[in-house]
Amino acid sequence: MLKVEDMVVRYGVIEAIKGISFHVDDGEIVTLIGANGAGKTTTLQTISGLIRPQQGKILLDGRDIVKEPTDKIVKSGLIQVPEGRRVFQQETVEENLVLGAYTRKDKQGIKEDLEKVYERFPRLKERQKQLAGTLSGGEQQMLAIGRALMGKPKIMLMDEPSMGLSPLLVKEIFSIIREINADGTTILLVEQNARMALSIADRAYVLKNGTLVLEGTGAELLQSEEVQKAYLGG
């Protein structure tokens, strides 16, 4: 589904991503774990076309999207839930969700999907007329995920969905990610919460200073001594 080949991203003279290659197959949950500043967010932003790489290919269903503008990439079904949620604070919950379906023209389908999102997140239905800025962090994360679902993603990129949430909410968010995946959406997940991410991932990569240093199944990496020492607190 998604294949990144030898991608290099520089900010001025600083090389943030030093030629990484990885892939996400249809139906998988793949996670990219790593410390702060490892280049996780840069990787996702580059895939979404917000940043241009200096080198490399990004293939979506075999088509190189490296030069495509973000709106076209979104239209092809690659949708991102950005770091920090980035919901539109001054719009209502429902307006946020409808904006998520911006590239779609099928009014009936949008209406049905809105109902589905409300079914999945009853809290959002209760607050549909409320401004998104008044929601709690967990609710905003649900809104950000719901908004991405409204775009009918084939593959969903998620940037630190657990950030700033209580352990209970983190668990809830991760079970939602699993459900979304079970419903047929491929997921590329970037996380600092390595334990949670590895526990739901089919496969995982470890990113360190812009280079991929390890890869394996989620279970393998959970057992790996190196990962335990560096990312799971011993």
Binding site: L50, T70, P82, R86, F88, E91, L99, G100, Y102, G151
Partner: protein, 294 residues
């Protein structure tokens, strides 16, 4: 004329100039909201609109065609101006953008002086409707037409921004450009659209202004432009209702100062208001103070 009638007349004057400021201030505020740019060349679009319509009228075109052509040319001009002058600087500092905007303003004023000369040109007013009499006060057609057209346009603009997909895209880009991109919104097109709408409103303001205050000259847009900018700041730059509110308040203050205090002090008082506002409540009446993202 009795005191009450005089006051009523001033009220009408205030609404008239307030309407013109509102049309211009909307363009300022919309462009600021989306591109985070104070487009100081925006006032000069009024002048461009006035001259294009004058050319059309002098060529014998009917008034409505003159208006449509002037609006179209100005919209297109707004888009081209953004693409040529501002888009290459989108990642540059705000101050570079500001200086560029001032440069565009001078470019426009001086090239129009070169083409049309600096001499004022009489503008053949075409609003040919009966004068409205309310009690002892008569209101010329220019005045009530300006007011009605402006209010109608503000309502249409508001509906557009609130209800249409393009309007929603504009709001999204204005709040968070990156997130808007991730929704699949084409930000470049949205910015172009904003410049087109702002310039169209400025063209209409230019036509209405010329009808009320003939003759016209190549620097006619500069002062109303700055006043409209003050109105936008007063109301809260970036806020559409704020721009309208600020414009009417400013229009009222101006006419009242002119009538009851001193017409020589007019501009000093208006600019003093800007300074006071920036010192006391920089976010404006309806503006939100922006919280730093942590």
């Amino acid at each position: 004329m009795s005191g009450a009638n005089l006051f009523f007349l001033q009220l009408i004057n205030g609404l008239n100039i307030g309407s013109i400021y509102a049309l211009i201030a909307l363009g300022y505020t919309m462009v600021y909201g989306i591109a985070k740019l104070i487009n100081f060349a925006h006032g000069d679009i009024i002048m461009v609109g006035a001259y294009i319509s004058l050319l059309c009228l002098n060529a014998g075109l009917p008034w409505y065609l003159a208006c449509i052509l002037s609006i179209l040319v100005c919209s297109l001009f707004g888009i081209v101006m953004e693409k040529l002058a501002y888009k290459p600087l989108r990642k540059a500092s705000r101050i570079s953008l500001l200086i560029t905007a001032i440069g565009v303003s001078y470019l426009l004023e001086n090239s129009f002086q070169l083409i049309f000369s600096a001499n004022p040109k009489p503008y053949p007013g075409f609003i040919d409707l009966p004068t409205l009499k309310i009690g002892a006060v008569s209101i010329s057609a220019n005045y009530y037409v300006t007011f009605i057209v402006s209010v109608a346009l503000m309502i249409i603009l508001n509906l557009f921004v609130q209800k249409t997909n393009m309007g929603k895209a504009m709001r999204a880009v204005s709040e968070d450009e990156g997130a808007a991109r991730l929704m699949g919104i084409n930000v470049d097109n949205t910015i172009s659209l904003t410049f087109a709408i702002g310039s169209a409103l400025a063209a209409i303001a230019g036509i209405l202004y010329s009808n009320c205050y003939s003759p016209i000259n190549p620097t006619m847009g500069s002062l109303p432009g700055i006043k409209a900018f003050i109105a936008a700041v007063l109301g809260g730059i970036g806020s559409i209702p704020g721009a309208v509110l600020g414009a009417f308040i400013l229009g009222m203050i101006e006419t009242m100062v002119k009538a009851y205090i001193s017409s020589q002090l007019l501009d000093s008082i208006v600019f003093a208001i800007l300074i006071l506002m920036l010192a006391l409540k920089p976010a404006g009446i309806l503006g939100k103070s922006v919280k730093e993202k942590v």
